[in-house]
């Protein structure tokens, strides 16, 4: 008998089940999963976009709105200049292919390395309840772009902001079915309070998260 079987049969013995897992039990678990029942949720008596903005800021992200993707390069340039940040960035290819020529920013569409300072990504979905970005890993949606650089800029189309995390999962199942290797929910910059309980921003991940919502998309 393997360690696996010994552990599982110890559990079964404790719950007084028959000697092996039955098909009926498997079917019960399967139907529970398929139901995707919602637990009790807090009231969502707010509008999605204002809530998203408010919570992004509460989670220490900065926030901006433009009309469409075409306006994004200028908004990024404005942000980087305001904060005196380098005018050089790595981005997901979908972002790198925007027209950056007028902005004076060099944008490379490649995965981030440890020494890149600004990373620009799209967003799979925004979650209004908590001001959260839902990012999926993939061939052209590199996970490290939102992680290694000191500054992370995320572009979020307003039509892709949902109310709660439950809504985000339901929509993701409808749209893509299987989950990618990594799903990251990012809510503001990296933080720690491990020295005397005093909050510090920028532990291992970005110091700054700047969210740009494209309101007409």
């Amino acid at each position: 008998m393997s360690a696996r079987d010994r552990i599982l049969s110890r559990i079964r013995a404790a719950r007084g089940g028959a000697s092996a897992i039955t098909e009926i039990e498997r079917a019960r678990v399967d139907s529970t999963i398929r139901a995707h029942a919602l637990g009790e949720r807090p009231a969502t008596n707010w509008e999605v976009l204002p809530r998203f903005r408010e919570l992004c800021i509460r989670m220490a992200s900065t926030y901006d709105e433009v009309a469409t993707q075409a306006d994004v390069p200028e908004a990024v340039a404005r942000y980087l200049r305001e904060k005196s940040l380098p005018l050089q960035a790595v981005a997901w290819p979908s972002i790198a292919k925007l027209d950056w020529t007028a902005t004076g920013i060099t944008v490379e569409g490649r995965p981030a390395r440890g020494d890149d300072l600004v990373g620009i990504t799209g967003t799979h979905l925004g979650v209004a309840e908590t001001g959260t970005l839902m990012l999926l890993s993939g061939n052209e949606t590199y996970a490290a772009t939102s992680l290694l650089p000191e500054t992370h800029i995320a572009i979020v189309p307003a039509s892709r902001i949902v109310a709660t995390m439950e809504d985000a999962w339901a929509r993701t199942r409808d749209e893509i079915g299987e989950l990618p290797r990594a799903v990251n929910f990012v809510s503001g910059p990296s933080r720690t309070a491990d020295i005397e309980g005093i909050l510090q921003i920028g532990a291992h991940g970005p110091f700054r998260v700047h969210v740009i919502v494209t309101t007409a998309e």
């Binding site: 719950r15 529970t32 999963i33 919570l55 509460r58 290797r181 020295i195 005397e196 291992h204 991940g205």
Partner: protein, 474 residues
């Protein structure tokens, strides 16, 4: 006292809670650190936006119970889905088995350096020691865990591991280990740790994480962090190994969404932690980043023993730390006094169950049963009830000292004889009042150290039953 060795001792032998607690009460540094500690206030503020908090707690407890009631079936489903996605699932009956499995994975892949994100199960099993004995370098990456590792100690809180350390302590440690100029500003210290740990993230061969939850539906592993070290550990090295307990399985992402609202608010008051990382398998074809291998080690080590018993509710625990943050005993002595991995009320329940009732005799008694922990627990674990049941088990198994057993037997004998009981309490109340003297305070109890540090208010001279009788007559 608070030398690395004593703070870090984690005996599998008997835990002497009394001595440890006594030391911490007399340790000015621990006392100062505990005064600075107020995650309870953060939780209170964090819960304000949830008017239906009680309904959400009930829902969360039901979600955890549903997993525990058919735990084997849920685990089998998790294993099936995770395996389909390319994860290698391992099963460990004991801590030693878990360590051996992980050392073997590291050896088979020629691993030299391991980075770790927080894992309390690996603290249970002393995994770092096992890897180091096998010749590997192990670096903790949660800032608190890193500080504790440099000091050669163990965590004193499950989510704030270095809460017992002052900025000066951290300054000394970094100066010694990093060979940099000594600093004491928390911001500068955090930056210095970031710089040194970034090097390790980029050069490690293997990343080890815990697992806040396993999701049966998708075969996913869930990590909740604020620092981003969980993301780093699962993104940069070529091998990712997660170690977690059998009880951590949830059915669906909907279950997770419900539980997360309570977990992060109960822990730090945040509506959500900065990073919720969900890993489902290793790097896929064409992925730019991620590990080539992903392993999940599912550990029993005493947990299954609690299933189907009056202790099962303890397995609902989602490791938020709220029970310790609200415990008047923890707030005065800190985590190391509890002598094993889990401090506070949940530790007082888990430790005797995991390492043996006879090895942690004081722990179920290290509480006033005030029920602050029971009120704040997000998954409604009846912690005071469980501690009381453990006390009863100690008595049943004859594990309490003879004096205590004799005293309880005498009390039981008297309490079953109402007239005798009334007489004895009347005598005690009268004697107590006389002993109180003019200031109605007893300064010294005979044969008992209790009054060494405080006074006992003297009884008024009348028993409850006498007062009750006189009032009902009126």
């Amino acid at each position: 006292m608070s030398t690395p060795s004593s703070a870090g001792t984690r005996p599998h032998s008997t835990i002497s809670f009394k001595d440890r607690a006594h030391d911490r009460l007399n340790d000015a540094k621990v006392q100062r650190a505990m005064r600075n500690f107020n995650l309870a206030g953060a939780r209170t503020r964090g819960m304000l936006d949830m008017e239906n908090l009680e309904d959400i707690r009930t829902s969360a407890a039901a979600i955890r119970d549903r997993s525990l009631e058919m735990l084997d079936v849920w685990l089998e489903r998790f294993e099936k889905e995770a395996t389909r996605r390319g994860v290698t699932v391992h099963w460990a009956e004991t801590h030693e088995d878990a360590n051996r499995i992980i050392v073997d994975i590291a050896r088979a892949n020629d691993v030299k350096k391991v980075i770790k994100s927080k894992s309390m199960v690996s603290e249970e099993s002393h995994l770092n020691g096992a890897l180091e004995s096998a010749g590997m370098k192990v670096v903790e990456t949660d800032l608190g865990e890193y500080i504790v590792q440099l000091a050669g100690e163990t965590p004193s809180h499950i989510i704030a591991p270095a809460i017992h350390k002052s900025r000066e302590d951290v300054g000394d440690l970094f100066h010694e280990h990093h060979k940099t100029p000594r600093k004491t500003d928390p911001a500068e210290l955090t930056m210095e740790a970031r710089k040194f740990l970034r090097e390790h993230f980029l050069s490690a061969d293997m990343g080890i994480t815990g697992g806040n939850f396993l999701i049966a539906d998708t075969g996913s592993l869930v990590l909740v962090t604020n620092e981003g070290n969980g993301r780093m550990t699962t993104t940069m090295p070529r091998i990712h190994v997660a170690i977690t307990g059998i009880e951590k399985v949830l059915g669906t992402m909907e279950d997770l969404s419900c539980i997360l609202r309570l977990l992060t608010r109960s822990a730090t008051g945040q509506p959500i932690s900065n990073y919720i990382t969900i890993n489902t398998g290793p790097k896929a074809e064409g992925d730019a980043d991620g590990p080539e291998q992903m392993h999940v080690v599912i550990v029993d080590a005493g947990r299954a023993r609690l299933l189907g018993t009056d202790m099962q509710e303890a397995l609902r625990c989602i490791r938020c730390g709220a029970c310790m943050n609200h415990c008047p005993v923890y707030q005065n002595i800190g985590g190391h006094a509890y002598g094993w991995v889990y401090p506070g009320p949940i530790g007082s329940v888990l430790t005797p169950n995991y390492i043996g009732l006879e090895k942690a005799l004081d722990l179920p008694n290290a509480a006033t049963l005030c029920n602050q922990c029971g009120v704040v627990c997000p998954v409604k674990i009846p912690l005071p009830d469980l501690m009381r049941k453990l006390r009863e088990k100690q008595l049943d198994r004859g594990l309490r000292p003879w004096k205590e057993r004799a005293a309880i037997r005498m009390w039981a004998w008297a309490a079953q004889r109402p007239a005798m009981y009334a007489l004895l309490t009347r005598i005690a109340a009268r004697v107590g009042r006389t002993a109180g003297g003019a200031d109605r305070t007893i300064h010294k109890l005979p044969g008992n150290g209790w009054t060494e540090g405080r006074d006992l208010p003297a009884p008024s001279g009348k028993t409850f039953r006498e007062l009750y009788a006189s009032r009902t007559r009126k």
